[in-house]
Each structure stands twice: as structure tokens, then as C-alpha cells.
């Protein structure tokens, strides 16, 4: 009788254990069910080194990002935008402005740079970038807007693991997230743009 | 193993009713405390009042479900073989859910109400932590899974034995013109109907529970509040109705033992139960009459069905009961008295419900104590009385000396009927005076009814203790 019971229960228990185990592994312990979740977890855990990027900022000057960006040891907080975005990027701009003010209040602005990168370099020429900067109060001191060259665009968004897809109306849908890049050019964390406390904590831990 | 014979699992059912009786008594004491607090007879901190209100609502509704399930299991077991293992799995999941809910409320201080209306559980104003709300809902999930297993275990053998739900519901008699002698017994017709609508309710309830849980864990996932409210009330309304319609099987099965005339399935009976099946699911919008954003057709449906839903109940149960009682030599003891009281109380309880179901009245009344007034009638004098009657019947004496009603029985019965009626009446009076429901603190001019109600509640509590203790004592005496 006892043997029959075991014979009856064992396969089901084994299946449950196997199934739950696989799902557990596949979702990093049920923490990352989406690609965005996985991307954020990966950044926080393994802090991948970014390749070197060369950007052009809103004044037309060259701006380096990646291993050699951190010569001054500054942390860079990167968001991706396109300036003609009617929604997320406008709200995100507001979030970044708030974040900059908080950094100033906490006297962290000396070691931190804010950078919004356009993934629409064809339409977002420097003049257009300046327009967005004016609207949101990015004066270039702490917060700068920049674009990659059209050829480098792919490597930049792939490097960060950002996904941009056309929305069918001439615009894009894209991750709305803030990427923390430390002084050695490693991607150490990804946060919602309105998660100001989370970002501040990460910055304090990093500097 | 040879053929499994149809045979009620008496031991398991007696155990369930012991739990149910004890929890009913405990929750009543909590109700008494709340009512006394509204009457300024004792002092409660407001957050604690809401914890008590949450535990009272969830505990009473859950226990009503448990006792209805036990009744139905017992009598369906007379006709088809049932799996005892599934029943114990149901009881285990139910008790696990109870532990979760009690922990959430008394340790986690959850006080968001038994209806966990979105987004209330998530915005506690720091009164409770998100984990408490999540645990509370997980408790519901556990109970819901238990009930799903329960209904599978009842529904599947019924379906097999009677050749599908259409026949189990007696449609071949109701619509096909077959001879009523071919119809399944009333207990099976009722069990089939309840199994169908309660399973649907649980599926909907599980969906909204899990969605609410996801919202708690990942606040970014907002759910549509109106849809969530619809689903919650659909589930809640169906579930509490299921508990009553399961418990009424006790009337069909036990009363014939007292009248000597069997309760037979007739065409009208079949049609009425089919109507119940549909009405129970269609009537819930009467909880939403104040939500102006609801589509008007849904509200009108809720109102019309509210009027109609009293009819099958009165037709098949109350009216038939009168016919059966009339001209038969009914033996009265505690069990039969409580069962007859339950049918009467349930029927009376539909009247204020129908009044509240009118859109014009509801606009004024729905958030007053009129509402607890109407449901306490059909709960205290309906499903709870049925459960107590069933319990008394389970441990009825076989000796001649025990067959009638003792003096204590009589007193307890009278106190229960009077106490419950008076208690509910006070809610109705307060409701008619526009006293809001769910207020921890009452204005001085409302306190009089609160105090009278408290006195009536004491009667209910004391008589309940008599019923439950007597049941426990007799259980101990007669093992099995």
C-alpha cells in the first residue's frame, strides 16, 4: 500500500519540482518575468562594462561615453529620448529636471552628470536638441542632451540593451528608463525615470 | 477495492460543522463587540474596529460557505459516491486560508474590508503593510482553490451518474416533458445548479484576486477599478448565495423525515432551480446601482432580476414547505424547528433586499445600515439557522426521551429567533434613518438603536453557544 502510494505520488511531485525549478531559473527566482526586468536585474548584478561611444552634444561638441568617459571619475545618468516625442520623453524630461534639483540640494552634482541621448539622430540635430534642452531647463552644466552619429546609433542602443520600435505614427516606443554608468564606464543600475530615491541611493553607493 | 458505495462521510461532515459552529459563535462575539462599540458601550480604536469588521465579514461569509458545503456533501453523498480525499483537501485548504486571513488581520493589521475593493487594500495610509493585504488575498485564493476542488469532486460524479448536467438539473423533465419520476432528487438538482454557478463565480473571483495581487506586488500594473468592482461583487454575491442554496438541501432532505412525506422533484421545481441558476449570476449589479458609470442596461437588469429572484425561492421552497407541513403530523424538535425558521427567515429577508434593489431607493439606502439589515436577516435567520438545524439533526437522539424539544432547546430556540429578528430590525430602522454603514463611531442620535441591537445580539450569542455546546457534547458522546 505504502509503495503504491509512493508510485502514485512520485511522478507528480517530480513534475512539480522540475516545472517550478525551470520557471525559477528562467525568471531569476521569479524576479524578472519581462525583458525589461531581466535587463535591470542583469545590470544591477553583473555591472557590464560598456563599449566606448562618441556622441555629439547639443552645442556640437564631442562627448565621450564609456571606459574613457570616466577620466574625471563622474557617474553618468543616461536616458534615451527623441525630442519630438509627445509623451514619455516630455514626462521623463520633467523627472530628470527634478532629479537634477535633488542632486544639487544634496550637493551630489559635482560627481554626477545627466545625459539624455537621442536615438533619432536624423531629426534631432543639435539645434533641435537645444530646443528640448530649453524646454526642460537643461543648461549643459549638469544635464546635457546629445546624439550619436547615425552609423553609431545601433551600437549605442544595443550596448545599453535599449529597444526602440517605430510606433507607426512616425514616432517610437522605447524603454523609459534611467541608466547609471559609473566612473569606470560600467552599467551598474537601471531605474524608472521617476524612481528618484532609487537613483539617488545608487549614486551615493557608487561615488 | 470493490465498488465504492454512495455513503455520506459522516465523520468529516460532523467535524466541519464543529468548526463552523465554533467560528460562527466567535464571529458573532466579534459582531457583538462592534455593535457595542457603535453604541458607545465600549471603546474601540477605529483601526481596530475595521480589523474586526474585516474579520467578521470574511469569517462569516467563509464559514457560511463551509457549512453549506458540508451540508451539500453529506446529502449528495447519499446518491453518488464521493471522494473523501478531495473533501479533506478542501478542508485543509480552507483552514490554511483561515490562518492566512487571521494572520493578515491580527498580526498584519489588515482592515481593508472583506470585499478587498480595488485599490483599497493597496492604500492603507500606513495602517497595514502591503504584505498583510497580500496575505489576506492569498487566504482567499487558498479558500477559492479549496472550493474549486470541492465542486469538481461533487460535480464530476453527478455529471457521470446522471449523464450530464442537463439531466442532473432535470431539464428533460422541465423542458423535455419527461416523467417527473425520472428526475434526479431535489438534492441533486440543487447541487448541480450550485456547482455550476459557484464554479463560475470562483473562476471570476480567482481572476480578480490574482490581478489585485499583481497590482500589490507591481504597483505599475493598475487594474480597471470598475471592472474589478464588478468582478468582486459578482464573485461575492454568487458565493454567499451558493452557501444558502447549498444549505437549503438540508431542508429538502431532513424535513421529509419529520413529515413522513418525501420531497419530490417536480416540473416547477426544475424550472425554479434553472431560474435560480441564472438569476444568481445576473442579479449582482444591484450592488452597483450607485456607480453612475455603469451601463444603464446592467443596472436595469440588476433591478428586474432582483424583483424576480425572490420568486423561485418562494415558489419551490417556502410554498412547498407550507404544503408539506400542512396536514402532516410534523414532529417538532430543535432540528425541524430551526429548519422551518430558516426558510421563513430567508423568505422574509428577501423583502428588504428587493426594496433595496430598487434603483430609486438604492440611491439613498445603499450605504446605510439598511443593507446589513437585509443580509443579517437572511444570514442569521437563513443560512446560519439551517446550519444549526443540520447540526442538531446530525446529533439527534435516538432514544424516545430525546426525541422532543427539551426546555433548554425551547428557550434557546426562542431566544435565537427573537434576538436575530430584533437585531436585524434595528439595522433596518437605522438604515431607514440614514445611518451610514461601516462607521466605527456613531453620532449620539443613532446610539439608541445600537444599544438595543447590542442587547438582541447578546440573546443571539447566548443561544448560539447553547446550540454549539450541545452539539459538541453530543458529538463526544456518540462517536462517528
Amino acid at each position: 500500500m505504502a509503495k503504491a502510494k509512493i508510485r502514485e505520488l512520485f511522478p507528480v511531485c517530480a513534475a512539480l519540482a522540475l516545472g517550478i525549478g525551470v520557471l525559477w531559473l528562467a525568471t531569476d527566482g521569479f524576479r524578472a518575468l519581462t525583458e525589461e526586468g531581466a535587463r535591470r536585474l542583469h545590470a544591477a548584478k553583473s555591472k557590464p562594462k560598456l563599449p566606448a561611444f562618441v556622441l555629439e552634444d547639443m552645442n556640437g561638441d564631442v562627448l565621450r561615453l564609456g571606459p574613457d568617459s570616466g577620466k574625471d571619475g563622474k557617474t553618468t545618468l543616461v536616458t534615451f529620448i527623441y525630442t519630438t516625442c509627445p509623451t514619455l520623453c516630455q514626462a521623463g524630461g520633467g523627472d530628470i529636471a527634478k532629479l537634477r534639483d535633488r542632486l544639487r540640494e544634496m550637493r551630489l552634482d559635482g560627481g554626477v552628470r545627466l545625459l539624455s541621448v537621442s536615438f533619432d539622430p536624423v531629426r534631432d540635430h543639435p539645434q533641435q536638441l537645444r530646443l528640448y534642452a530649453e524646454q526642460h531647463g537643461a543648461d549643459g552644466a549638469v544635464w546635457t542632451i546629445a546624439r550619436p552619429s547615425a552609423e553609431a546609433l545601433g551600437s549605442v542602443i544595443d550596448g545599453f540593451g535599449v529597444r526602440v520600435i517605430p510606433d507607426g505614427w512616425g514616432g517610437y516606443q522605447h524603454n523609459s528608463a534611467l541608466h547609471v554608468v559609473d566612473g569606470e564606464g560600467r552599467l551598474t543600475g537601471i531605474f524608472d525615470t521617476d524612481d528618484i530615491d532609487g537613483v539617488l541611493n545608487a549614486v551615493r553607493d557608487g561615488t | 477495492m470493490a465498488d465504492v458505495k454512495a455513503e455520506p462521510h459522516t465523520g468529516a461532515v460532523k467535524f466541519s460543522m464543529l468548526i463552523a459552529g465554533a467560528v460562527f459563535a466567535l464571529m458573532m462575539v466579534i459582531g457583538l463587540v462592534m455593535r457595542a462599540a457603535q453604541g458607545n458601550l465600549i471603546e474601540l480604536e477605529a483601526p481596530f474596529f475595521y480589523q474586526l469588521l474585516s474579520v467578521h465579514g470574511a469569517g462569516m461569509v467563509g464559514t457560511a460557505g463551509l457549512s453549506g458545503a458540508a451540508v451539500m456533501w453529506y446529502f449528495v453523498g447519499r446518491y453518488v459516491p464521493l471522494s473523501a480525499r478531495m473533501y479533506w483537501a478542501f478542508i485543509a485548504l480552507f483552514l490554511l486560508g483561515v490562518v492566512f486571513i487571521l494572520t493578515a488581520i491580527f498580526i498584519g493589521r489588515y482592515g481593508g474590508g472583506w470585499t478587498f475593493l480595488f485599490p483599497l487594500p493597496a492604500i492603507s495610509g500606513e495602517a497595514w503593510e502591503p504584505w498583510a493585504a497580500a496575505l489576506f488575498m492569498l487566504g482567499y485564493v487558498s479558500i477559492g482553490v479549496g472550493f474549486l476542488l470541492y465542486h469538481l469532486a461533487v460535480g464530476y460524479p453527478i455529471m457521470k451518474h446522471y449523464g450530464g448536467f442537463a439531466r442532473a438539473l432535470g431539464w428533460h423533465v422541465g423542458f423535455g416533458g419527461a416523467d417527473p419520476a425520472d428526475a434526479p432528487p431535489p438534492a441533486i438538482v440543487a447541487a448541480a445548479a450550485v456547482t455550476i454557478f459557484n464554479t463560475i463565480g470562483i473562476i471570476v473571483g480567482a481572476a480578480v484576486l490574482v490581478a489585485s495581487l499583481v497590482h500589490l506586488l507591481v504597483p505599475g500594473f493598475a487594474v480597471d477599478a470598475l471592472l474589478a468592482k464588478n468582478m468582486i461583487f459578482f464573485f461575492g454575491h454568487v458565493f454567499i448565495n451558493a452557501s444558502i442554496y447549498m444549505a437549503v438541501i438540508a431542508v429538502y432532505e431532513i424535513v421529509p423525515e419529520y413529515t413522513g412525506r418525501p420531497w419530490k422533484t417536480s416540473r416547477v421545481f426544475v424550472l425554479a432551480w434553472t431560474a435560480i441558476l441564472l438569476f444568481v449570476m445576473a442579479v449582482y449589479p444591484h450592488h452597483l446601482l450607485q456607480d453612475v458609470v455603469m451601463p444603464p442596461w446592467a443596472l436595469v437588469l440588476g433591478q428586474v432580476v432582483s424583483y424576480l429572484s425572490g420568486i423561485p425561492l418562494l415558489a419551490v421552497t417556502a410554498f412547498s414547505l407550507c404544503v408539506y407541513l400542512h396536514g402532516s403530523k410534523m414532529r417538532w424538535d430543535l432540528a425541524s424547528s430551526l429548519l422551518v425558521l430558516a426558510v421563513a427567515g430567508w423568505s422574509v429577508g428577501t423583502v428588504p433586499a428587493i426594496i433595496d434593489g430598487m434603483i430609486s431607493v438604492n440611491k439613498i439606502m445603499h450605504n446605510t445600515q439598511w443593507v446589513p439589515g437585509h443580509f443579517h436577516i437572511y444570514l442569521l435567520l437563513g443560512v446560519v439557522a439551517m446550519s444549526f438545524g443540520f447540526m442538531a439533526w446530525l446529533v439527534r437522539g435516538t432514544k424516545a426521551s430525546e426525541s422532543g424539544m427539551s426546555g433548554l432547546d425551547r428557550m434557546a430556540f426562542g431566544a435565537y429567533a427573537l434576538g436575530a429578528a430584533g437585531f436585524a430590525l434595528m439595522f433596518l430602522i437605522s438604515g431607514a434613518m440614514s445611518v451610514p454603514r461601516r462607521w466605527a463611531v456613531h453620532l449620539p442620535e443613532w446610539v439608541l438603536q445600537d444599544r438595543i441591537a447590542t442587547a438582541f445580539a447578546v440573546l443571539v450569542v447566548v443561544s448560539t453557544l447553547v446550540f454549539v455546546i450541545k452539539y459538541a457534547v453530543r458529538l463526544g458522546r456518540a462517536p462517528g
Binding site: 507528480v12 517530480a14 520557471l23 | 465498488d3 464530476y156 500594473f221
Partner: protein, 194 residues
Amino acid sequence: MRRPLLILSIAVFGSCVLFRQTLERDPVTHVLLLLPALAVAGWLMAVSLGRHRLRLREADANALTLLGVFAILFWMLPRYIDASLTNPLVEAAKFISVPLCIGAVLAVSWKATHPFLRGFLKANALSMLGVLAFLYIHAPVRICNSYLEVDQQRLGYGFLFVALALSLVWAVPLFFPADGGATPNKHLSGRATA
């Protein structure tokens, strides 16, 4: 071996491969057409190769069915839907595992599974489709990075529709069983298998 079914199975699988990109462009066809079609291909193959020759014990059938369900859960994770669009390895895993681990496994195990487990899983499937519909229609967050929010909403309505359709398909035989309910039921009388 039943050759016509095998050919049909290969044809279904082949069209899935052929129209892969078209079907994957839209999450509704990806999740509600491509994935089920792959599972159907696996199911047909198992039937054509003679699944009836496998006489499974109920306990083993229960376990296999659970594995099939876990495979479904895996491919419902937005993370792997996304990944299959960008990572060819994951895409290959999808085209192999959905037919085998879902279609073929369930073809072999489903009928022999305990009716209580089957009923439980069906009820849960309806609830969970409801949850998915609920979240996908209203979530203000994007669940798949590869798809637009409006497409996500359409997928939500798709889930709702599937839930309603399945509930009808599953409920009708409960009311009117095809065999009139005449077959004696081994689960209730004399569990010959136990």
C-alpha cells in the same frame, strides 16, 4: 502510423516556419496563432505516430500533463516571447519545445489524466486568461519591449476572447455529454487502475 495526419502535422509546422516573420510581427498572431499552431503540429504528430500504443498509468499521465502545463507557462512569459524575437537560439528552442513539450506531451497524457486534475487545470486556465486580459488591457506599462502598447491591448482582448470561447467549448459537453453519460466511470466504481 497514420500518414495523412503526419503530413498535416508537417504542413502545419512548415507553414509556421515559413510565415514566422509575418506571424511574429504582431503579438496577437504570435501568441494566439503561431504558438498554438506549433502545439497542434506536435499534437498531430504524436497522434499520427500512434500515441494509443503508449499505455500510460494515470500517475504518469498526471505528471506529464503538469510538465506540458509548465511548458505553456514558460512560453507565456513575456521575457521569452521578447527573447525569441531577438535571439535565434531562443527562437529555435521555441520551434522545437512548443511542438514537443506542449503538443506531443499533452496528446499523449491528457486523456489519461485524472478528471479532477483536468477540471482543475481548465478552470485555472480560464482564470489566468482572465488575469492576462485584465493586465494587458489596462497595464500602463509595456510588457513586451518588442511590441507597441496598443498591440498589447489587442492581445489582452484576444485573451479575453479565447477565455470565453474555451469556456463554451469546455462547458457544453458537461451539460450534454456525447455518449449520453452512459459509460461507466472507472474513477468512481472500482478504480481498476489503482
